[in-house]
């Protein structure tokens, strides 16, 4: 590790350490994380994993947290009807909020020494920040064979800096669940973080939905870590529809044959926003599959997509595909896409593609020639562009809820 003196810290780093100190209640692990941040700071652009998202510059240009801790999460209507709410880190009234589900508070967040992104530093930046800010977490276990009928909605408890949560979710063999990770707006200047770990047992099936709707001057750093065993299915949908500085990481690994990863996401960007989605899909064993599609609508701001597919030696018959498609609706916005493949097996099918373009003029003319006014025709085409990936969810409550959020965003942005 390099030794740096505290004097060289940027305003962003000093501010972050200040926030962390303010929440510190004496915990040893949090102290350790704060000291690591003090010693190592935030990653510079020379750290490849953070090349397009320079936290040292970005965090510095944002105002500090206000005293308002925002709307307490309990007043929020659940994203999906009939959801069970889990406030991360607090003991639920009973330990069994729904049949087959057990929730317990846990002390320690995930180990930041584990390098989940090989392009990050010797420790994991996002996990350190989460621990330094005093994240509170829960262990959620879903019993073998259980099909949880009600969706489970995870919320961080709001605090002075915005809400820091973590979880360790274990799905038993052949269990099924729908989990919503809710990242609602809190207060101007807030910095929130979330680190989740999922262990998907053999034959289990989870639909995880990240709903990020932070306010216009908020920062959110999120990380999902997923391990899939034999025939497990991980379906993820990420909606980024808010926030000033957003980093959402997804790190998945297959350790059992037949595992399948399906990631879909929509990033909606307007002026003043920086949204970064960074994913690494690690196919570690033979006969596993993954498909990842992100659709981005850019009215302004900056978007980043870094998508890595890694196929380990011996992981034959891997079938992995990713795509990142961007609709640029303004000259003011930009989007950087970096798809990567790293393949150490010789009998695999992998593909990646990134596209960027404007609204198709032929499509626009066709709709207008039927009497649909231009603004409405454009809105239909934008909705169609993102709607395609939403519809792939094949779970009606989530499709409806996501479409409503996307419609609301587009209506407000136009």
């Amino acid at each position: 590790m390099s030794v740096t003196t505290p004097a060289s810290r940027t305003a962003a780093e000093t501010g972050l350490i200040g926030r962390a100190e303010a929440t510190h209640a004496g915990g040893e692990r949090q102290r350790e994380a704060i000291e690591l941040l003090r010693a190592e700071g935030l990653p510079s652009r020379r750290v490849e994993a953070w090349h397009y998202t320079d936290l040292r510059a970005l965090l510095g240009r944002r105002p500090e947290a206000g005293s308002d801790a925002g709307t307490p999460a309990t007043y929020l209507t659940p994203f999906l009807p009939n959801s069970v709410i889990v406030d991360l880190g607090s003991a639920p009234a009973g330990n069994d909020p729904a049949a087959g589900v057990e929730v317990l508070p846990i002390e320690d967040s995930l180990d930041w020494r584990e390098r989940v992104n090989h392009l990050d530093r010797a420790f994991d930046t996002l996990r350190v920040v989460n621990a330094a800010l005093g994240a509170r977490g829960s262990a959620i276990s879903i019993a073998d064979g259980a099909t949880v009928e009600q969706p489970i909605e995870l919320r961080a408890q709001p605090d002075a800096s915005g809400g820091q949560g973590f979880s360790s979710v274990t799905l038993g063999e052949r269990s099924r669940a729908v989990i919503v990770e809710r990242q609602p707006a809190s207060s101007a200047g807030a910095l929130s973080s979330a680190v989740h770990q999922l262990d998907l047992g053999s034959g289990s099936d989870v639909l995880w939905i990240v709903v990020q709707e932070k306010g216009a001057v908020e920062t959110h750093l999120g990380q999902l870590n997923v391990t899939l065993r034999d025939d497990a299915k991980f379906r993820l949908f990420v909606l980024n529809a808010g926030g000033a500085i957003i980093r959402q990481e997804v790190h998945a690994q297959t350790v059992g044959e037949g595992a399948d990863i399906q990631i879909r996401g929509v990033n909606l960007l307007q002026a003043g926003q920086h949204i970064d989605v960074t994913t690494t899909l690690n196919h570690n064993v033979a006969h596993t599959t993954s498909t990842e599609i992100f659709r981005n609508v850019v009215l302004g701001g900056s978007g980043v997509f870094q998508g890595m597919i890694r196929v380990a030696k011996g992981a034959q018959k891997t079938d992995a595909r990713l795509a990142c498609n961007t609709l640029l609706l303004s000259d003011e916005g930009d989007f950087s896409a970096k798809p990567e493949l790293e393949i150490f097996a010789d009998d695999v099918q992998c593909g990646h593609g990134a596209t960027a373009g404007e609204i198709n003029a032929d499509h626009l003319f066709y709709l207008m020639s039927r009497g649909i006014p231009e603004p409405l025709a454009r809105a239909l085409l934008v909705k169609a562009f993102v709607g395609e990936v939403v519809e792939e969810l094949e779970y009606e409550p989530a499709i409806e809820a996501l479409e409503a959020r996307i419609d609301a965003w587009l209506a407000a942005a136009h």
């Binding site: 066709y366 020639s369 649909i372 709607g387």
Partner: protein
């Protein structure tokens, strides 16, 4: 209905002139056929009437019911009653056909100051028109034109025309890619819409379509101008002799 006067047009931002002084008048209730060899400007004419922005009108005017439409965008022209049946209808993934039809219908009604259709009323109209054109309702549950065969796309165009009830219908090579049975269905659909208050501009390469949609007038378009106007017999003459003779006479 339609009066085109000395129309000159080029591809926007280029010097490529496609229409070079085109004159054409279509009366109320008239079916006018436009024929012409490849590259004569037939499709360009249809796009310019519909309001496509890829072309620039450099001289002349298009009067629709006595008023110039050049300043109107495509949606405004459609709401005022202009309809273009595309030679190649676009596939638009992600836009549901029924949503599209309803949005188009209600947008036009709104522009004309009429109330929106209720969903049952809308569905009733779609079902009636679809049945006439032998269109399976299941087809309309798909995204707009996605996965439709060539014939299905053309029938879907006529369905849109029937629902929107335009006053001026421009059919751009509606016969291309149709087998004879599909051609009859499409022609029947068009003929059912004939009325003294509705005019048609039928653009085609072949006389065959005109056996089913019988025109009142036939116009030959060549190098961006109408070089000959006649009755339906002119189409038969072209079928037998080709364009060379008439082009030679006009030169």
């Amino acid at each position: 209905m339609l009066e085109i006067k000395n129309l000159h047009a080029r591809v926007a931002d280029t010097e490529i002139e496609i229409l070079r002084g085109l004159d054409l008048t279509v009366q109320d209730g008239e079916i006018a056929a436009i024929m012409g060899p490849n590259g004569s400007g037939k499709s360009t004419l249809s796009y310019i009437i519909a309001g496509r922005e890829d072309y620039e009108v450099t001289a002349g005017d298009i009067l629709y019911n006595g008023e110039s439409i050049l300043e109107m965008d495509a949606a405004e022209r459609a709401a005022s009653g202009v309809f273009l049946a595309f030679q190649y209808p676009l596939e638009i993934p992600g836009v549901a056909t029924m949503t599209f039809l309803k949005t188009a219908l209600n947008s036009q009604r709104k522009a004309r100051g009429e109330g929106e259709l209720t969903t049952p009323d809308f569905l009733r109209r779609v079902k009636a028109s679809a049945a006439d054109l032998k269109i399976d309702m299941a087809m309309l549950k798909r995204p707009l034109n996605v996965g439709f065969s060539g014939g299905e796309k053309k029938r879907a165009e006529i369905l849109q025309m029937a629902l929107l009830e335009p006053k001026l219908c421009v059919l751009d090579e509606t016969d291309s890619g149709l087998d004879i049975d599909a051609l009859k269905i499409v022609a029947d659909g068009v003929n059912a819409l004939r009325s003294s208050e509705r005019s048609f501009l039928v653009i085609t390469h072949y006389q065959r379509l005109l056996d089913y949609i019988v025109p009142d007038t036939v116009h030959v378009l060549y190098k961006g101008r109408i070089i000959r106007t006649g009755t339906k017999d002119l189409a038969l003459q072209l079928e037998n002799e080709g364009y060379a003779q008439i082009i030679g006479e006009a030169a």
